[in-house]
């Protein structure tokens, strides 16, 4: 019983400390990333809700019926900013979400890249592909998508 009480107090205290730390962390912003898509994608802008549905695997087809291929970065500031601003998940939560889909057979994992240049090249070569890179990355071979 005593151990449980100590652990409970420890947990409460740690949560409060974590919340304080959270308050001092820099907020993720849309200015930190650029959404890119294959030039064959007809959409020029998408709502945050549509982007969220796309990157959660709920919306799998573009409005013209062609399949959507989502690609992600492995890590980095742009990865974190995009997930938190658009998808509403931390990288860890996003990873866990997709693993749940994988381990229930509902979806295959999105293709992930450790370099933004490789991601852009992939998006340029794959019909229906959409991803994101850090702001300032060369994106001449793909189109950029704005958030409505």
């Amino acid at each position: 019983m005593t151990i449980i009480r100590v652990l409970r107090n420890c947990f409460t205290g740690t949560l409060m400390t974590g919340s304080l730390m959270m308050g001092f962390s820099a907020p993720a912003a849309a200015a930190d990333f650029v959404i890119v898509a294959n030039k064959g994608v007809s959409a020029g802008s998408l709502s945050k809700g549509e982007l969220q549905s796309i990157f959660l695997g709920e919306k799998t087809k573009w409005d013209d019926g062609k399949p959507i291929k989502i690609v992600t970065l492995d890590e980095g500031a742009a990865h974190k900013a995009f997930l938190q601003t658009v998808v509403g998940k931390t990288p860890s939560q996003f990873d866990s979400y997709w693993k749940k889909l994988i381990f229930t057979g509902k979806a295959a994992a999105p293709k992930a890249f450790d370099e933004a240049g490789k991601l852009v090249d992939f998006v340029a070569s794959q019909a229906g592909a959409i991803g994101y890179v850090a702001a300032g990355q060369a994106v001449g071979s793909v189109k950029t998508i704005s958030i409505k």
């Binding site: 652990l7 939560q93 994992a109």
Partner: protein
């Protein structure tokens, strides 16, 4: 068992060496993923739960699985997952098909699945086999009862699913599945049913289980409030079968069981209506969630004993439970979680006053109040280590006990998992 685990570990490590994307293995267009976990659990000597020999401390506490999926076309894919688990007297590392189905997504709002599909119950049922996908080692036991994991977690049949955007009102995701519940007569669920049906005088060994046409449904609303989602899920089924009565004890005038007989029985676990309502709120690294579960069903048996007598029972059950959970991820390698969970065998008499109607000796046999705390460590990618403690009041969930289950007890568990 050690050989099985070693072989799977070696295979997993070997396969991962050929992986091309984060943790996945791609062999000729077939994606392969897997997981393996090994734990240790200790409970009081009397309360052997959820691992049947945990009172002495047990390593009979593992899970493993491997899945194969193939995209035939952007709209059609096939997949299968083999899994096994050990919990001492049940599971026993028997390899089973966890899920296996074809999935055709006609539109985003309408897809079809056929085969063996996991039941979308609550926040966790579909993916509960893989320990790495959650913070806790043991989920709240009423909604995610370990003894039911071999029987009430999937449906053999088919169903529809889809996602419906609602503009500023968020998104609705739905699933409906119809088919048979593939319950097994030699598993944990059969032990649970045998214990409940036996009452105070009989020991039953389930020999056969059949399911009627069953329905499972799930409606998830991703609300316009950032990070907030709500779920309403349900399962409706009836199960029936046969059993051997191993021991029908007949008390004398002093209430002492003096005569013992064997027999046969037919039984029904009828009109199970299970609902789970869930809320989850995510704020950066903090996740708060709560679930409420309702179970209604009727238990009945008709027995014929070797002394020529017969017996019958019919009992309506109305249980419920609720849980509140909080998890917080501090950094890439450390997460902490806690939950508080209450379960009542008779939701109309939460003080346990109807325990005699349930053939239970004490009022505290009628509830389960569980406080849990978990530390989760992710030291390197794909590896998870957890330590968890539970303080429990009441023993409603304890299926296997020695010398009578204790009123107050604990569970201490640790587990290491690898997934790819």
């Amino acid at each position: 068992m050690k050989n099985i685990l070693a072989a799977i570990t070696l295979c997993a490590v070997g396969l991962t060496a050929f992986s091309t994307t984060a943790g996945a293995v791609d062999l000729g267009g077939v994606d392969i993923h897997g997981f393996i976990s090994q734990g240790f659990i200790k409970t009081p000597g009397q309360n052997n739960f959820p691992v049947s020999n945990s009172g002495k401390g047990s390593f009979n506490f593992n899970d493993f699985g491997i899945n194969f999926t193939k995209e035939i076309s952007p709209d059609l894919h096939l997949g299968l997952q083999l899994s096994a688990f050990d919990r001492g007297n049940y599971g026993r590392d028997k390899i089973t098909i966890d899920w296996a189905y074809g999935d055709y997504r006609f539109k985003d709002w309408l897809g079809f699945r056929a085969g063996k599909v996991k039941i979308p119950l609550g926040l966790y049922n579909e993916a509960r086999d893989n320990d790495a996908l959650r913070t806790f080692i043991f989920l709240p036991q009423q909604a995610y009862f370990d003894y039911e994991r071999d029987s009430l977690v999937a449906i053999l049949g088919g169903g529809i699913y889809g996602s419906i955007p609602m503009g500023n009102a968020g998104t609705l995701n739905y699933q409906v599945e119809v088919g048979a519940v593939p319950a097994v007569s030699d598993g944990g669920f059969a032990k649970e049913i045998g214990g409940m049906l036996g009452g105070s005088s009989d020991t039953l060994n389930i020999t056969d289980i059949n399911s009627t046409t069953s329905i499972a449904h799930s409606l998830e609303w991703r609300t316009p409030v950032s990070g907030l989602r709500a779920l309403a899920t349900g399962l409706h089924t009836s199960l029936s079968g046969t059993a051997n009565v191993l021991d029908h004890a007949v008390p004398n005038a002093d209430g002492v069981n003096t005569d013992h007989f064997t027999g046969t029985a037919t039984w029904k676990y009828d009109n199970l209506h299970r609902y789970i309502f869930s809320l989850e709120y995510t704020l950066n690294d903090l996740i708060l969630s709560g679930e409420y579960e309702l179970d209604d069903y009727t238990l009945s048996t008709s027995s014929t004993y070797s002394n020529g007598t017969t017996g019958a029972l019919n009992s309506k059950q109305a249980t419920d439970s609720w849980v509140i959970m909080a998890t917080y991820r501090f950094n890439d390698w450390f997460e902490m979680g806690s939950f508080y969970h209450e379960v009542y065998a008779d939701r109309h008499h939460r003080d346990g006053s109807t325990h005699n109607d349930f053939w239970l000796a004490q009022p505290y046999n009628m509830w389960w109040k569980d406080t849990a705390l978990t530390l989760r460590f992710d030291p390197v990618p794909n590896v998870v280590f957890k330590v968890e403690g539970h303080y429990i009041n009441g023993n409603y969930e304890v299926i296997e006990n020695i010398g009578g289950a204790k009123k107050d007890s604990y569970i201490l568990a640790s587990k290491v998992s690898y997934s790819f």
